[in-house]
Symmetry: C2
Subunit: 196 residues, 2 copies
């Protein structure tokens, strides 16, 4: 996920987001996106498989940020520490590189369309598996690594929903993720009565 | 979710599960299910909208078990205590009423079919929302209630996957849920360094 750059790919992404927001996802065509970006349709298809994939550009790069944070953490990091490292890196990158306004508009477009919601769920499932695999590669037991992969996505997505809810929420994504982790810690801290 | 009974609905469910397991979900017809159960197709459609819904019979009742456990908990229960109560009631009911063998076969059928996997995800999303609503009705703040609804589903589904993985896993669903809650508590307990 690169910062906005003057290349055709970024121009196409901006143009697509504008048109999706103005006319809706269904009514927007690849021809319209290319025209708005000042490039040919052929150039569009050199960068994206279809109009849907414009919304998911940078998906692999963001996933790699989570994964690299786990791989690059100090050897003595606890699994809990690896989770925080992954969330801080991933959430921090999303926050700094694309920013809240972009994330909010993108989220509104996706929420309004069932096919896009499904694609977004697939993206989050892939992120969860990637985090799990990165933890297993660091010697974390599979059961724990699976749970941790699911937790990272849960913390990320619930913090994300709050983050894009500006202006009522002014804190950053990373801070909201920390709050989510703390809330989950509280929620799972009950004395459990073991039944006979 | 009633215990197996001699009525037509239960006979149809057993017949459907047998045929799904033998021939696969796609190749099984309503006519075949009705024939195996010894009833007419008309009787089938009095109980189920289609062959898919046979696999989701009892969905509302199971959801109600989670919700009622929250509503009926002592007034001074903590939110963490409400989560344990919901999971113990829901997991305990699934474990006792239908049992592991039924759950394993059903899970294999669902895992093999994308349309059924989506329907199962929808069921879990509804369960999450129902738990959240039950917590809000008890005065829990919305942000916490949303997180808790997601957590209940996460703990339930990860414990469920381990539970049906017999014979390598011999513990009960409720015990596995407790273990999951404890693992999540550990995973979210890291010291978080707040960056300036």
């Amino acid at each position: 996920m690169a910062r906005w750059a003057p290349g055709a790919s970024d121009r196409l992404q901006r143009a697509a987001m504008e048109l999706f927001a103005e006319d809706g996802f269904e009514a927007t065509t690849v021809a319209g996106i290319a025209e708005r970006a000042g490039v040919t349709e052929r150039t569009f298809f050199r960068h994206f498989a279809d109009k849907r994939e414009v919304l998911f550009a940078g998906e692999e790069q963001l996933e790699a940020v989570f994964v690299d944070a786990i791989a690059d953490a100090p050897p003595d990091a606890s699994v809990a520490g690896l989770l925080v490292a992954a969330l801080d890196a991933g959430g921090g990158t999303l926050q700094d590189v694309r920013g809240r306004d972009f994330a909010r508009v993108r989220n509104e477009i996706i929420t309004a369309n069932e096919q896009l919601r499904e694609r977004e769920l697939l993206k989050l499932a892939k992120l969860s598996h990637a985090v799990t695999a990165a933890l297993i590669a660091r010697g974390v037991a599979e059961v724990t690594a699976c749970l941790a992969g699911e937790l990272v996505v849960l913390v990320f997505k619930t913090a994300f929903v709050r983050w894009v809810d500006a202006p009522s929420e002014t804190r950053g994504l990373v801070e909201l993720q920390h709050e989510g982790l703390a809330a989950i810690s509280d929620l799972t801290h009950a004395e459990i009565t073991v039944h006979p």
